[in-house]
């Protein structure tokens, strides 16, 4: 591990933690909590001193695995994103890596939902799988459109390909679909049915104490990562006047993240049995059309 990579790793951890905390605070503030800036801290303290409880014959191994997998997936997905001038893992297949790590969330939620041996979390886990079957394909087509535009699966090349015009300008459909799937990936706001109130909190309903804290932190980290990925993929990465690259990356990430948190507070929940049909019949053909347009543009 050379010095540049080490610095990137440290800055990744710090920025992920700061942004996740910020997202949680903003969410609390928009939700009407007083003293929102300290709200996540108070919640963490509450969970740390909370008495632990467990349901009847849970599969503790699976629950713990799923709980820890959530922040782990977010962290590993973030390694290919250039926080400063370079990513921690400069992989030639960075886009596929991001996709693969983000899919691990399917496993995380289902493991927790199944393992606690309770009906509502299990329903939440199933809801997320149904959600995954709906959002994943449009999401993948959006990512492929980006790779097609850049002619590479390396995220640094994607950023370089946007030097003249950002991908959001000529791939607007892919961008919007990416944002929708970003909400779905982090099971946030309108796509938050897997943790919905109508199933008593869904997947984490039976988690208490440290388990619940890790789960919640992982979810906010995931939200940050999916928002941060939009920046190198569609918004030109660190490109911008006057300010240095890392500052522009930060500004754009905060803007996308703030937008997602706001949507989460303001937009009503989407029922998955409706969204599945919409995703397969409208979103997939639409993103494929977008891919076709980009494919024709990049032809020599």
């Amino acid at each position: 591990m050379d010095e540049g990579t080490g610095a990137a790793a440290v800055s990744l951890v710090v920025s992920l933690a700061v942004l996740a905390y910020g997202a949680a605070a903003l969410d609390a503030g928009l939700g009407g909590a007083r003293g929102a800036a300290g709200a996540p801290l108070r919640e963490a303290a509450r969970l740390l001193v909370q008495g632990r409880r467990r349901t009847l014959v849970p599969d503790t191994l699976l629950v713990r695995t799923g709980t820890v997998l959530l922040p782990l997936a977010a962290l590993l997905a973030a390694t290919v994103l250039p926080a400063g001038d370079r990513p921690v893992l400069d992989s030639g297949v960075g886009i596929v890596w991001f996709n693969a790590m983000e899919v691990c969330v399917w496993g995380a939620l289902w493991l927790v939902g199944w393992g606690v041996n309770s009906v509502y979390p299990l329903i939440g886990g199933y809801r997320f799988l149904a959600q995954g079957l709906s959002y994943e394909l449009p999401h993948m087509f959006a990512l492929i459109t980006v790779a097609l535009g850049a002619g590479s699966l390396r995220i640094a090349d994607v950023v370089a390909a946007q030097r003249e015009v950002w991908f959001v300008v000529w791939m607007p459909v892919a961008f919007v679909v990416y944002l929708v799937s970003a909400l779905a990936m982090a099971f946030w706001g309108p796509m938050g049915e897997p943790v919905g109130r109508n199933v008593a909190g869904g997947v984490p309903a039976e988690l208490s104490g440290a388990d619940r804290l890790v789960f919640a932190a992982g979810r906010y980290a995931l939200l940050v990562v999916v928002a941060a990925a939009a920046v190198p993929l569609f918004l030109g990465g660190g490109a911008g006047p006057v300010l240095p690259g890392w500052a522009w990356t930060a500004v754009k990430t905060v803007a996308v993240l703030g937008g997602l948190v706001l949507v989460g507070q303001r937009v009503p929940a989407v029922r998955m049995d409706r969204f599945t049909e919409f995703a397969w019949v409208v979103l997939i053909p639409l993103t494929l059309l977008q891919t076709l347009v980009v494919a024709i543009v990049v032809l020599p």
Binding site: S91, V96, A100, G107, L129, E136
Partner: protein, 214 residues
């Protein structure tokens, strides 16, 4: 060292599929085995194939979990000692299980360098466990897990052959991709057929679906 750790993990995960009592644990043991093999592919410069296997296998195993629960009654009952006399029961108590489990682990001992032979050893171990599963299991889902372990061995061996024998030729990589596709195909076909027979007759054991037996 990294290779042997992953190889032991892959084989142990594969063996655990037919040892553990909970269907959920069996599915995720299989996933562990698949992911460990994906890790070994990353060690031999198969970046795309390795990451792709992670991506595909996570989704496929979750689909598998869905179907598994659709067919099974109380599959988790066995996980906590409350033994079910039903289809969970016949998966334990096989005299061969323990021997298989032990025999399949490579004692790392002196760390040998990673070679084509070591990959083939891993593939042979996974294939044998998969074959054992495919031949010994009665539940169709468990049988499919055996088949998938065999394809997993194929992926490991195919990747190694590409790296050690013909690294300048992309054909080997494409062959591995075809193996990944075959696995998904096997799942889609298998579940379609099983669902049809399950709806019609409430059957998910091979012995009760012997209509075509000569």
């Amino acid at each position: 060292m990294g290779f042997w750790t992953l190889a032991v993990l892959a084989v142990a995960g594969g063996a655990a599929v037919f040892v553990v009592n909970s269907m959920a644990r069996a599915t995720f043991a299989l996933l562990t085995s698949l992911l460990a093999v994906a890790g070994t592919l990353l060690l031999v410069d198969l970046g795309y194939v390795g990451v792709l296997v992670v991506l595909m296998m996570v989704m496929e195993m979750l689909v598998m979990a869905v179907f598994m629960i659709m067919y099974m009654m109380n599959p988790a009952a066995g996980a906590h000692g409350a033994e079910d006399a039903g289809d969970d029961g016949d998966r334990d108590g096989h005299p061969g299980d323990d021997d298989l489990h032990r025999g399949a682990r490579h004692p790392p001992g002196t760390v040998r360098p990673m070679t084509l032979q070591s990959f083939l050893l891993l593939a042979a171990a996974l294939f044998s466990i998969g074959l054992y599963g495919a031949l010994s299991q009665q539940s169709i889902v468990m049988l499919m897990m055996g088949l998938e372990l065999m394809i997993n061995a194929l992926i490991a061996a195919g990747g190694a052959f590409w790296y050690y024998v013909a690294p300048h030729n992309a054909d080997g990589q494409v062959l591995v991709l075809v193996a990944v596709t075959v696995m998904a195909l096997e799942m889609a076909m298998g579940f379609a057929v099983t669902t049809a027979i399950f709806r019609a007759r409430d059957v998910d054991l091979t012995d009760e679906a012997g209509d075509l037996k000569g």
